[in-house]
Subunit: 456 residues, 2 copies
């Protein structure tokens, strides 16, 4: 067999040091979701291909990893004209939202009322691998099904902020907008429906390309008479107040909305204002920013949309919104829903790059037994440590102390406990501490003091 068989392209092996850091971040996220009353859910890695391809369209057709049929079914498909679409019956999970919708519609009776779930599992996309873009990566979703009230948005925002605080991010914030306000603006400006997506995509780039860039893009589009001027005025006005705080943005934005005489739009604006006020009262004033140009890509959003940002970083670290129709599309009956997906991989990368995760070695000490006849004593000593939550790596070979020291020191293990004949006879242990370089002998009846020292 070939030597050096690599992991598949765009996929990663997680060796212990990196994996421990990932697990640390995932544990913080799931603990906080649990404390906020969200329940865990896990779904199979595969879904029926019909469900996946129906939901993600052309993108899905290209990017879903497809599982080949097996046995007779494959033989028949190969015999029957060998059409690509007939050869596979399942696909790997592409996101966590479609599986959630399927689970909810299959278990509607049991999950009735509201269902608040979080799900942290890998997804797969056959994208071209690139820096920071993988073909297998974790998603971390939290959703509330069964509530159309903005309490649900607040419930999610509070959990997200607690997670970001706990991860020691000081400069994060959530951008907030509502799809209905975007529609109201475009309707007010009499923008033709077929141009909406193109116009929204351009407006959404204000943070990235500035007023000039946005105006330039607008000028390059073929827009009806007057629409270009209206959009330019609007984006210029929004850019002017952008950095003056939520109140200024809300006031300026509401001038446009009030100009349209659109009472339902005013209701959506009022909802945004209420959410902002409550968040301020809770001491999170700077964590929620009203951004009337935020658009977000996915078609299925029907109300609020939001993105998690960190400081000046252009790209988002998570996002979500309200999707009151998606579950009905999959399961038959409409149910209100709102959700947020943490950009887990990007957040971990950021924490690693900024060295915000302490490098914690997994093991407190290595315990080595110099001969078989001392094993029982050594195992009893190991048990004393482990019973007090000290992580003991038993060295599973019989080698000389110097070789053991070299190995442990290379591995970054802070100390080695040696068990030889003297240790057994005198009921003691001998410790080599790499930070001091010294040997210390400790009697078993004083081991508790030693354990206390390790723990501090």
């Amino acid at each position: 067999m070939a030597k050096k068989i690599k992991a598949p392209s765009g996929m990663r092996d997680f060796l212990p040091d990196e994996l421990r850091k990932r697990k640390y971040v995932i544990k913080i996220i799931s603990d906080i979701y649990e404390k906020h009353g969200f329940s865990p859910l896990e779904t199979p890695s595969m879904e029926r291909l019909s469900l996946l391809l129906d939901k993600y369209g052309d993108e899905g057709e290209k990017l879903v990893f497809k599982i080949m049929k097996r046995g007779d079914k494959l033989a028949r498909a190969l015999a029957d004209g060998k059409n690509e679409s007939e050869l596979a019956d399942m696909g790997l999970r592409y996101d966590l939202t479609v599986p959630l919708a399927r689970v909810y519609s299959n278990n509607r009776h049991q999950l009735t009322g509201t269902f608040k779930r979080y799900q942290i599992q890998p997804v797969w996309r056959a994208d071209r691998p690139a820096r920071g873009r993988f073909r297998e990566f974790y998603q971390c979703d939290v959703d509330i099904i069964g509530s159309s009230h903005f309490f649900a948005e607040l419930d999610i925002f509070l959990a997200v902020c607690e997670i970001m605080d706990k991860l020691n991010f000081s400069d994060y914030f959530l951008s907030l907008n509502d799809r209905n306000l975007l529609s109201a603006i475009l309707k007010g400006f009499a923008c033709p429906a077929e141009l909406e997506t193109s116009v929204l995509t351009t407006l959404d780039k204000l943070d990235k390309i500035g007023v000039k860039g946005v105006v330039g893009e607008l000028e390059s589009k073929e827009l009806p008479d007057g629409l270009q001027e209206k959009l330019k005025d609007y984006v210029t006005a929004m850019a002017e107040v952008k950095d003056e705080g939520n109140q200024a943005v809300l006031e300026k934005f509401s001038i446009f909305i009030r100009g349209f005489n659109d009472s339902s739009a005013l209701k959506y604006l009022e909802k945004i204002e209420k959410i902002m006020t409550i968040f301020s009262e809770l001491g999170y004033a700077d964590r929620l920013i009203f951004d009337p140009l935020l658009a977000r890509g996915l078609d299925y959003y029907t109300g609020s949309i939001f993105e998690l940002k960190i400081g000046e970083e252009k790209s988002s670290f998570g996002g979500g919104g309200r999707y009151d129709n998606l579950i009905g599309d999959i399961g038959g009956q409409q149910v209100a829903a709102v959700g947020f997906s943490f950009g887990l991989e990007r957040i971990i990368d950021h924490l690693l790059a900024k060295e915000m995760l302490e490098i914690e070695h997994g093991v407190d000490l290595c315990l080595a037994c110099l001969d078989e006849k001392y094993f029982t004593y050594a195992a009893k000593v190991a048990a004393i440590f482990r019973n007090q939550e000290i992580k003991v790596d038993f060295y599973p070979r019989k080698r000389s102390p110097s070789k053991i020291f070299r190995w442990a020191s290379k591995k970054g293990i802070p100390r080695v406990v040696l068990i030889g004949g003297d240790e057994v006879t005198e009921k003691k242990i001998t410790v080599k501490n790499f930070s001091t370089g010294k040997f210390v002998e400790i009697k078993l009846d004083k081991i508790d003091d030693f354990i206390k020292k390790i723990k501090t």
Copy 2:
């Protein structure tokens, strides 16, 4: 789209109650492995198909889920004669041992010395689904690479026993044998090499079909003159002492081995004896049973083999052994290795069937806010609880108390905290406790006492 799209055949959605129990078991296992100095490892769900098919042979060809090639590569494969084997390039992970061997040989320099790892991830097999047999299921492996000493076996056994103790199993034990002893017996009886597998498979059935069954199967085989008698004597002798404890089995067995004048076999027997003695000294005398008929299926074992059993249950709850050649087969350079795989799914099933896992609801209380203007107060109350590790499910809708009570009670949430106008004015909370059916009002300055009560 069709209603009621199910999860793929043989795969499971894990809803919150069941998932919490699974997570509880997995956490116990991983915490204990960590305390024993094993490091976590995770590998991609896919491996290159060449690696998988080469390693699992015919079984793999049938049971590995294959990922179809994509884009141009698929088009070319379809144009080029449409051969089944050309259509796929990757397969889903079939076990955790082959990925470990690949990772080790790719990172040999970094993992040098000994590498003790645990890995808990799903694997996939396109088997016919049946009760207790799934197409996606978790494996939970622990392995030590780089030690040929029996310290490594002991290291694994001690962690396994600690896990079983912690999970409250009272009647588990490990069966232990050595492939080299099986070979020595067959060599001593002059059994032809081509009959070895067949004979061992029959001997291994003693627990399941008894002496008569084994003798019957032996009689149905075409064996050389004298071999049948020798095997019958042997299995009868072993069955006689089987229930008389390790010492009796070891003594009886060693009579056969000594009869062969095979000094290397005596060495392997001596190793077994040493392991048994040490285990006894550690208070685990009943947890390790020498079973000279234990064979285990996999070809790659080269030394000790072992299985985890529970009470009278015929099937095993985990198993493993020493495989000193496998990593060399994959990576080029021979490295000693020994590992154990927990039958995680079977253990969880057993714990559930015997009701050995407490049914713990995920949430301590549901907090409901009766109007938007009380939300800030409600969120502050929720934060007080959560800061003291109370799990608070905020009810994300605006509904009447009676509807909230009905929902919470159906969900099994033990109590509801209501926040309305009086609560805000009088700085209190109103609690409906479902176990007493009573309402209690608690002033905010007494909330710590209430939290203490919830915790006990």
